[in-house]
Amino acid sequence: MTGIDWLILGLYFAFVLGIGVALKGSMKTSTDFFLAGRAIPAWVAGLAFMSANLGAQEVIGMGASGAKYGIATSHFYWIGAIPAMVFVGIFMMPFYYGSRARSVPEYLRLRFDEKTRGLNAISFAIMTIFSSGISMYAIAKLIQTLHVFDGVFLRLGINSSWIFDFAILISAIVVLVYTFLGGLSSAIYNEVLQFFLIVAGFLPLTYLGLKNVGGWSGLKATLGPSYTHSWAGLSHPDTNRLGVEWFGLVMGLGFVLSFGYWCTDFLVIQRAMAAKSMSAARRTPLIGAFPKMLFPFLVILPGLIAIALPTQPAVPPHARVVVSAEPPGKGIIPMKVDASSGKPMLDKDGKPQLDYDLAVPNMLLHYFPPGMLGLGLTALLASFMSGMAGNVTAFNTVWTYDIYQSYIRPGATDEHYLWMGRAATVFGIAFSIAAAYMANRFNNIMDMLQLVFAFVNAPLFATFLLGMFWKRTTGHAAFTGLLAGTAAAAIHHGLTLPAGAVAGIKGGWLAVTHNYPSEMAQNFWTAIYAWTTCFVVTIIVSLVTRAPDESKLVGLVYSLTPKPEEEPMAWYARPASLAIMVIAGTVLLNIIFW
């Protein structure tokens, strides 16, 4: 990093903090703080809806998957997000927004009962803390690997072993300051800035990379068909790089996991709940779906380019960085090196493993001169921080409304809850820091926690689907269904194992009754079993328990709610038109990259 890069990074920090300070004055009620006063225009909420999910892990991870699996990674966007985003906007938002619930768990209390809300609120609160901790850990590791601060530390005479701690501290402080001051508005505004920064930082990268490798046709010629087709080869797990078959992909990823995330996760739904009107709330996910549809070109293509470039030790002369001068990997992706022995890590066949997570960072270093490099790294940092702020704002809302106000101190003044929200921001970030250090010290514990979260999340969409569209669904049924679904996920995971893995954290800890061709296939099928179990159990228990009082379900269930009235607006801006456009675009992209 040279002076010009620091200037750009510094400018970004100044704006982020400045927005927090500027918004401080308008935080008068808890609604201002937790729901941005329900005054956000649709396009701002839409970009935030999409960006809240676009943390650094997503940017780095999608590039890594691009290098590993090829363009098929775009399934995570095209079938793994777009249909669910359209569904939540058209069919579910009328109930989320219309019920005036202040959070997703609160919707569950209105629709079902207290215990279902409690289960969802508590598991969600714990999950957000850990995800924000894990992303904090990831970015600190990245800063360490890229040697961003090494020059400064050297000049100041500080031991470079403190870089990890420094990176955690500085990011925590910045996120703390702006979410503490401006609440959800601050987070949303920064998500919008981050969105444009990612585009500004990555568009030239894709352009230069594509130009360098001879465009898409050059990429196809270098990498071969397995990297450059998204659907061809999906008839059997052995004939595609993902190691899944189309049914598992479409049902597991495209239906269960994707709808479970985009339609029920308060982290994203909160952005739509903050929109200024029902029609803005419905358009929020639809507007977010447009950039989501095109983002594979910004975040996945650089990964493909990184693996297609001629293999070489790429150390730009100006950058004060050492990109692992160890044995070359493939393209500009280095091999994974064991930190303790310094030797390349080998996979089960004795072949060296590649450190795919460095695909995107190395692309930035490879193509960007000082100036643009600063912009690219700022974009990465921005995506990390807004990803973390997203978790923090979702946490402080669920904590304050669904846990503190419900179980600890009901009936206090609004001022008190606003204060509690600010306090929750502080201890939420403190817990995240603890989680980040935990991730650093005990990698296995984190893997296990993420596994448990996956079990808890997998059945969620079945509960919401039945709750919103079948008025007979009861609270007892929702609660039992969720527990049964989570249990089914755990049991399925305990009975199956991906090829080449050892029984344990990867599965098979009960007994190995089935082997999946890949970990991804196992994940998808775990989700499918969890969802189906929850769906069936919820229906059965609903039928044997007392039907809910219909008068209390108005505004919460499809058949008992009047259709939302369309505000007068141009035909192309209506939710249905946006939905048709984004679906048509996605279908077209799938055909082009078949």
């Binding site: 701002v44 500004a200 230069l208 730009p316 100036g371 643009m372």
Partner: protein, 81 residues
């Protein structure tokens, strides 16, 4: 709500664009070997300016009506939930 997002957005991109443009104009051309001989700072600086300027202008255009609206008594906040 507080501020119009287009104001900080426009300002940030105007400043970023200006920094990249100036740096691209004065920096050593040999820097751009790695970016395929293209002075990315210069060109991308222009693009960022071209994005920042209308954003900034739109946020300013919205200010005057907002000030006028401010002279009437503020509407009661929505508190219905």
């Amino acid at each position: 709500m507080g501020i119009d997002i287009r104001l900080p957005l426009g300002l940030l991109f105007l400043l970023l664009g200006a920094i990249l443009l100036v740096y691209g104009a004065v920096s050593d051309p040999s820097l751009y070997q790695q970016s395929l001989g293209i002075n990315v700072n210069l060109y991308w600086g222009v693009v960022l300016l071209a994005f920042g300027a209308p954003m900034f202008a739109l946020s300013r255009r919205g200010v005057r009506p907002a000030v006028r609206a401010g002279s009437t008594p503020p509407s009661p906040r929505s508190s219905g939930h």
